[in-house]
Structures are given as C-alpha cells and as structure tokens.
C-alpha cells in the first residue's frame, strides 16, 4: 500500500486516490495547428525509471488534484503538493 501525503487531508492510503499519470505532459495551446505537439501530448511519455512527477486525484477525500514525485522502482515519495499551487 502506497500512502500519499495530501496537503489538505494528511497521510492517506492510495486506494482513496485515482491516478492520471505523467504531470510533465503539457497540453499545447488550443490554437496550435501543428499536429506533432498534440501527438506528443496525447501519446508519448518519458516513462522514467526513477523519479516520476505524476497527477493523483484525491477522489475519495478532498477531491483535490495532487502532483506527487514518486520513485517508480522503490515507490519512495519525495514530494506531494496541490496541483493548483504548482502548475499555475
């Protein structure tokens, strides 16, 4: 069981969250007409072996989106913060 530190609710089990994935993927501007950045955004990922920034949704808690930095081998979590505070 991974436990995530929600800045609002404290340390909670992973089963309270849903996972979205890579938080470094950036949607192109809506007026972007080149298909390449869209293909990159929709399909392609760095998929690092090690530290990974990712979105988790505290869906059975405060319903906030979190950005969690987690190691994909050890599952050690180095940071977690509210997404709205980070990506603005």
């Amino acid at each position: 069981m991974i436990r995530l530190n929600c800045p609002v609710c404290g340390l909670r089990d992973e089963t309270e969250f849903t996972y979205l994935g890579d938080a470094t993927a950036r949607r192109p501007k809506m007026d972007e007409t080149d298909p390449k950045p869209w293909v990159d955004f929709v399909f392609f990922r760095d998929n690092p072996r090690g530290s990974h920034k990712e979105y988790w949704h505290h869906v059975l808690g405060c319903r906030q989106w979190l950005i969690v930095e987690r190691d994909t081998v050890s599952h050690d979590i180095s940071s977690s913060s509210l997404a709205k505070d980070v990506s603005a």
């Binding site: 991974i2 994935g21 390449k36 399909f43 998929n47 072996r49 990712e54 081998v73």
Partner: protein, 418 residues
Amino acid sequence: MARYSAFSIFKNALGGNRGWPRAWRDPVAKPQYDVIIVGGGGHGLATAYYLAKEHDIHNVAVIERGWLGGGNTGRNTTIVRSNYMLPGNTMFYERSMRLWENLSQDLNFNVMMSQRGQFHLGHSPAQMDGLRRRGNIMRAHGIDGELIDRAEVQRRLPYLDYSENARFPIVGALYQGRAGTARHDAVAWGYARAADRLGVDIIQQCEVLGYLWDNDRIVGVQTTKGDIRAPKVGLAVAGNTTVLAEKAGVRLPIETHALQAFVTEPIKPFIDNVVSFGAAHFYISQSDKGGLVLGGDLDGYNSYAQRGGLPIVNHTMAAAKSLVPAISRQRLLRHWAGAMDMTMDGSPIIAKLPVEGLYLNGGWCYGGFKATPAGGWCFAWTIAKDEPHKDNAEFTLSRFEQGYQIDEKAHGPQANLQ
C-alpha cells in the same frame, strides 16, 4: 547436441541420468554478429530462433541482463488464446496459436501446451452481443469460437456462482476450444535450446549500457562484457523498452506498469479450463501441479518494481471469490508482479525504429506470453527483410500519429486503463 526422444529418456535412465548434456552453450561474446537481440525472454529467444530457422541468419547473439525467462516470460499466467477482433490483431494472434500448436515438436522441447479451452464469460445481454460480434469476426477468419448460453456454461463449469444473488449473473460465454495454457519457463528454455542448436550465441549476465554509433546509425551495443558490434540491433525487453529506446534518443508511447499474478496452494483437479470473468478483469486456471493461477488488474500507477501492492491482491481475490465462491478459503502460496510495457492503445509495436539499425519488439501490455511465437516470427521477418510481414504490418510506431491505433478495448490513450 542430442535430440530429446523417448529413446534418449530410456537410454539416460539406464545410465542413472548422469549422461544428459547441457541444453545450451554458455559462449563468450564474439566481437561481431549479423544481428544482436537484446533481451533473453521468450520473444528475444524466439526471434533468434526464427532468424536462424526461417531466414538462414545464424550469426546472432541474444544478450540478457539477468537469466533466461527471468522477466515477464516467467511472470505471466501462461494463457494462450487468439480471440482478437480488430484488423492487425486477429491474424497475428492466430499465427501465434498455429505456431503454439506445433511448438513442442518444432523445438524438440515439451512446452506442455494444453489446449484446454477458454471461456470468456458474459454478464449482460449487451456484453453477449459484444461477444457474439467478436466470435463472428473470429469465425470469419477461420478461428474457432463458440457462443454458449447460461445453461451450457453451467453444465460445463458447475463451480461458478449461478445463485440468485450473484452480483454479476452469468448470461453466457464465448468459448475458444483451441485456447489453453503452456508452461512459460519451458517456452524460454525450448527456444533457447533450439536457437543454440542453430548457432545462436546466448549471452547471459550481460547488461546493455548503450549503443555503438556510426554517425546516425547504430552499429552495435556497449555492454558490461565489452562492445559487441552488429549492423542490426533488435530490442525485446518489455518493461524496460523505454529505458533502452531513450538511450537511442527514441521516445515511445509506452508507460511501464506492474501486473500481478497469484498461485494458490495446490488442490485436486477442479478447474479444467481457462475462465475469464467478464465483469471485472480477472482470469483463472489450474496448473498441472494443482495450484490455481489467478490474474487481475494493473496496480494502476507507473512502476518498474517487479512486485505488486496489496490493494490489487485484495481486488483480485474479491473477484475470485465472487466468480468461484468455493475457493474462498483457499490460501495463496505466492504472488509476484511483472513490469509491463503498456502502450497507449493496448497493442504492441513490432517495427523498425526511426534510428537506422534499431528494431523494436515491445509494448505487449497484458498479452505478451501468448504472442511469443508469432512475436518472434514476425520480428525475425522484420529484421531480416527490413520490412514487416503482413501479420505485423499494423504494429507500427507511426500508427499513433496517423490515427491508426489498434485499441481492442476502446479505452483511449490512457496506459493504465489499457
């Protein structure tokens, strides 16, 4: 090396079984090969075997970081089936099934292929419509599929929950009689031995660190045992595909996720077939040793750890108990996880990569084991001829930018849902 036969068993038994030679050599890597396959699992070894057998390319090295079949080849639930319905998938998996059916004879190694039949259960009229469509597509391609109703499912699988209060009542099933199981370790060993007999060098405990370049072209690999050169390098390293592709500067539509499998303590013969639950992602069969083999969902978050988390253990056991109430007091003997290449459409990639000299067999998601023979066969074709066979022509990398995804489950570009 000697052929295995009834006579060789008899002869060696008389000698106290002390005369068996080793099944494959342990060679020192040569400095130069025609083809290097990175990854000594089922797909890599099968590729080397078919390169030698079908394309007369014998100067091949298979390089493995750990030991043969120590990755996903040894971590699956051993199920073999060909009930796919999208163009690109259907005939590929059927090619695999046809290779499976003669694999023990072809390799002269008993892979314990057991065509015990697979039931894919349906739990609503709508789901039965979907299974009917799938079954019709299979039959139109010459693949066996049989739609059966609830009474017939109950006759054949009396141990499932048919009670009034079953949360997901069983309405019927799509049955593929030629589906079944095979012994996963034996598949790796059989391909290794057969490839070795055709001159392939299998080099274990040798990690690939990077590539050798000639301008923009890959001409070999740097390994922990030194540089090895070859004009063609094929990757068959599911789970770590993106790690090795990144070293060549190639980005892929793949995330790595952990998929768990479970074995219970052995019991007497109980589950004669492979049964897939249609209401949750769950499947069950019984090994020849008697253990029930169970599989379920991904853990759900990117993971290279070859171990799983407890929430999925709980989830899978809940599905098991819901489908087969009689096993509620069975105890688990072992559970483990493999690192899956999850692509963004749930289908694999067998293709030349944008870097000259580099080829990829990966992105197998849940389905790598059943695809082992055809994956190797088609990958060997692609490497030897520098173009895909028609059975893997759709498994390109460019399909994502062209809009030709093969999304069998229609889950969209979300790797952990595929």
